[in-house]
C-alpha cells in the first residue's frame, strides 16, 4: 500500500514539468554558488573563516546553500500533494481506498522523498567532483549531503502537512515558505546574549542543526532532531487525513 501510493506520487511528479523544473532550479542555484566559492578560493585559499580546506569551503558550503533554495522549492512541490488533489477531487480515490491515514501520509511522503533523494544525489556530484582537483575529504562532503537530505525531509513533512490543511495550493505554498523562513530566521535571532534564549532559538532552528553536519560532525542529537520533526509532521498529516475522511470533504 505504501509503495503503491509512493510510486504514483513520484510518477506524477515527473509527468508534469514541476518536478523537472524544480530540480533544475536548485541545481542552477548550487552551480552558481559553487562557481563563486571556487573563485573566492582561488583568490584567498584559507581566508574564509573555518579552516578545513576546500572540502568545507567549497564542497560543504555549496551544499548548504542549496538549503536556502530548498526553502522556496519544497513548498511548491508539496502543495500539489493534498491541496491540488483536494481541489480537483482526485483525493477521493485515496480516501475511498482501504488505506489508513498513516499509510496515505507516509506513502505520499516517501514518494516526495524519492524526488528529494534524487536531488541530493545530484547536489553531491559537484562537491564530489572536487576530488579531481585535489585531496577531497569525502566523509565531510557525505556528512553535509546527509545533513541536507535530513533537512529536506523535515521541510517535506512540514510542507505536506500544510498542504493537507487547505485546498488552495497557493495558500499551502506561501504558508510553507513562511514557516520554513521563520525556522531559518530563528537561528539569526540567536545573538541576544541571554543564554537560555539563544540556546532555545538555536535548538528550534532547523539550519542550526544543519551546521554541525556541514562541518562533518554527525551528532546524533541533530539527526534525532530532524527525524523527530519529520515524524511529528507526518503524524499530524495522518491525523488530518483521518479527519478529512470522517468529517467528509466536498
Amino acid at each position: 500500500m505504501l509503495i503503491t501510493i509512493a510510486r504514483a506520487e513520484l510518477l506524477r511528479l515527473f509527468r508534469t514539468p514541476v518536478g523537472w523544473v524544480l530540480l533544475a532550479v536548485v541545481q542552477f542555484v548550487q552551480a552558481w554558488v559553487f562557481y563563486r566559492l571556487v573563485q573566492n578560493w582561488q583568490l584567498s585559499p584559507v581566508a574564509s573563516g573555518f579552516d578545513a580546506g576546500f572540502s568545507f569551503n567549497i564542497g560543504s558550503r555549496s551544499l548548504g546553500s542549496s538549503a536556502y533554495a530548498a526553502m522556496l522549492v519544497i513548498p511548491l512541490l508539496t502543495m500539489r500533494s493534498f491541496s491540488g488533489e483536494w481541489r480537483s477531487g482526485a483525493i477521493q480515490l485515496l480516501l475511498g481506498a482501504p488505506a489508513s491515514g498513516v499509510q496515505i501520509a507516509l506513502g505520499k511522503f516517501l514518494g516526495l522523498m524519492g524526488w528529494v533523494t534524487l536531488l541530493c544525489l545530484m547536489l553531491s556530484l559537484m562537491p564530489l567532483s572536487l576530488a579531481l582537483a585535489g585531496r577531497l575529504d569525502t566523509g565531510l562532503v557525505l556528512s553535509a549531503a546527509l545533513g541536507v537530505w535530513l533537512l529536506l525531509a523535515s521541510f517535506t513533512a512540514i510542507g505536506l502537512y500544510l498542504s493537507s490543511l487547505t485546498r488552495q495550493q497557493a495558500v499551502a505554498a506561501f504558508a510553507g515558505i513562511a514557516v520554513l523562513m521563520l525556522s531559518w530566521l530563528l537561528a539569526l535571532l540567536a545573538g541576544t546574549g541571554i543564554g537560555w534564549l539563544d540556546e532555545a532559538l538555536r535548538q528550534l532552528s532547523s539550519l542550526g542543526h544543519l551546521e554541525s553536519l556541514l562541518r562533518g560532525l554527525i551528532d546524533s542529537r541533530d539527526v534525532a532532531w530532524f527525524v523527530l520533526v519529520t515524524a511529528l509532521f507526518i503524524g499530524l498529516t495522518a491525523l488530518r487525513v483521518e479527519r478529512l475522511r470522517e468529517g467528509g470533504i466536498s
Partner: protein, 313 residues
C-alpha cells in the same frame, strides 16, 4: 439479513454544521437491481451516496454494507463499494492503464489478479482505444468511463454512481446507460441524477428525494399508460370516460397522462383517436409513458414546495 440485500440503511441522518442534509433515511439495495435516486439539486442525493460509500459517517441511525456496520468497519467496507463521486477522482497526468493499475493496487490487488482486473475494467468500460492516452487529454465521456472503471476495478458488490451522465453528449449517454444496465445484472447499483430520462432508461426502480428525505418509491416498467399532447388544454373529462382509462392527470397546460392497463391499451388508443377527431380536440403527440415518473416527480416537488415546511430532523 438475506444475502441479496447489500446495503441496509435504517433511519440515517446527517447534517453539515446544524443544517440537515439527509433526514431519517431508510434504504435497501439488492444485487441485480439498478436503483435510481432522483431529486432536484440540493435534495441530499450526493450526501446519501457518500453515506452509503462510507465516506461520511451518519450522525444517527445505521448503515450496513454487505452485513458490516459502516461505523465500525470503516476500512473493510471499502472493498465492497465502488463509488464514483460527482467529480471523478482522476489524475490528469496518468495514462488510463496506469490509473487503473494504481486504483487496483490501492484495493490490494497484485500479480495476475491485478492484470485481470485492469483488463476486465478496460473491456467493460470500452476503454481499449484510449488505454495509453493521458487522462487529461480525454474527452469528458471517456473520463467519466475511466472514473467508472476505477470504481469497479475490484469488482465490488455495490456500485454507487453520483450524476454519472452530467456533461455527456447524447451518444455517450446512451453508451453509459447500457454500461449501467450491464453492471446492474450482477451488482447492486445506485445511480443519482436530476435527469428523469436517465433514471427511466437505466433503472429498475426509482426513489424520489426531496429536502433530505425519500418521499416516493416507484418501480419502473413499461405499459403504465400514455402521455397525450393537445393543441389546447387537455379535455380531462372526455379522456376519463374513454374505455380502458383508469385515471387521467394533467401534466402541464397541453398534456395529460392517461393511466391504462396493458391489456386495454389497443382499445383505449383507438377510442382516443376517434374521439379526438369527432370532438374537435386534435392530438399533437402521443407517447407511451414508461413509468409516469415525470408526473410523480413534478407532483411530489410541487406539493412539497407549496405544502407546509417539512418537519426538521
Amino acid at each position: 439479513m438475506p444475502d441479496d440485500i447489500l446495503i441496509d440503511v435504517k433511519q440515517a441522518s446527517y447534517s453539515y454544521g446544524g443544517q440537515a442534509a439527509v433526514c431519517g433515511l431508510d434504504l435497501q439495495l439488492r444485487r441485480g437491481r439498478v436503483t435510481g435516486l432522483l431529486g432536484s439539486n440540493g435534495a441530499g442525493k450526493s450526501t446519501t451516496l457518500r453515506l452509503l460509500s462510507g465516506n461520511l459517517l451518519a450522525d444517527e441511525g445505521s448503515v450496513h454494507i454487505a452485513g458490516l456496520d459502516a461505523a465500525r468497519h470503516t476500512r473493510r467496507i471499502r472493498r465492497h463499494i465502488g463509488y464514483l463521486p460527482e467529480v471523478p477522482p482522476l489524475y490528469p497526468d496518468l495514462r488510463v492503464a496506469e490509473a487503473l493499475d494504481h486504483a487496483a493496487r490501492l484495493q490490494g490487488l497484485r500479480g495476475a489478479a491485478l492484470r485481470q482486473a485492469v483488463a476486465r475494467a478496460i473491456e467493460r468500460c470500452r476503454l481499449g482505444d484510449v488505454r495509453r492516452r493521458l487522462i487529461g487529454r480525454l474527452s469528458k465521456g471517456y473520463r467519466q468511463r475511466t472514473g467508472i472503471a476505477q470504481a469497479i476495478i475490484h469488482d465490488p458488490a455495490v456500485i454507487l454512481l453520483d450524476e454519472p451522465s452530467s456533461g455527456l453528449d447524447p451518444l455517450q449517454n446512451i453508451a453509459l446507460r447500457e454500461l449501467i444496465r450491464e453492471l446492474g445484472s450482477d451488482h447492486a447499483v445506485l445511480l443519482s441524477s436530476h435527469i428523469l430520462a436517465d433514471i427511466e432508461a437505466a433503472c429498475d426502480e426509482a426513489l424520489i428525494m426531496h429536502d433530505g428525505r425519500i418521499v416516493h418509491h416507484q418501480k419502473i416498467g413499461a405499459g403504465e399508460g400514455y402521455t397525450a399532447g393537445f393543441a389546447g388544454p387537455p379535455p380531462l373529462q372526455d379522456l376519463a370516460s374513454l374505455p380502458g382509462v383508469t385515471g387521467v392527470e394533467a401534466v402541464d397546460e397541453r398534456r395529460a397522462h392517461l393511466a391504462c392497463p396493458e391489456a386495454a391499451q389497443a382499445d383505449m388508443l383507438t377510442a382516443l383517436i376517434r374521439a379526438s377527431a369527432a370532438n374537435g380536440w386534435p392530438l399533437t403527440e402521443l407517447l407511451p409513458a414508461r413509468s409516469g415518473l415525470e408526473q410523480v416527480f413534478v407532483r411530489q416537488l410541487s406539493q412539497r414546495d407549496t405544502g407546509p415546511e417539512p418537519h426538521p430532523c
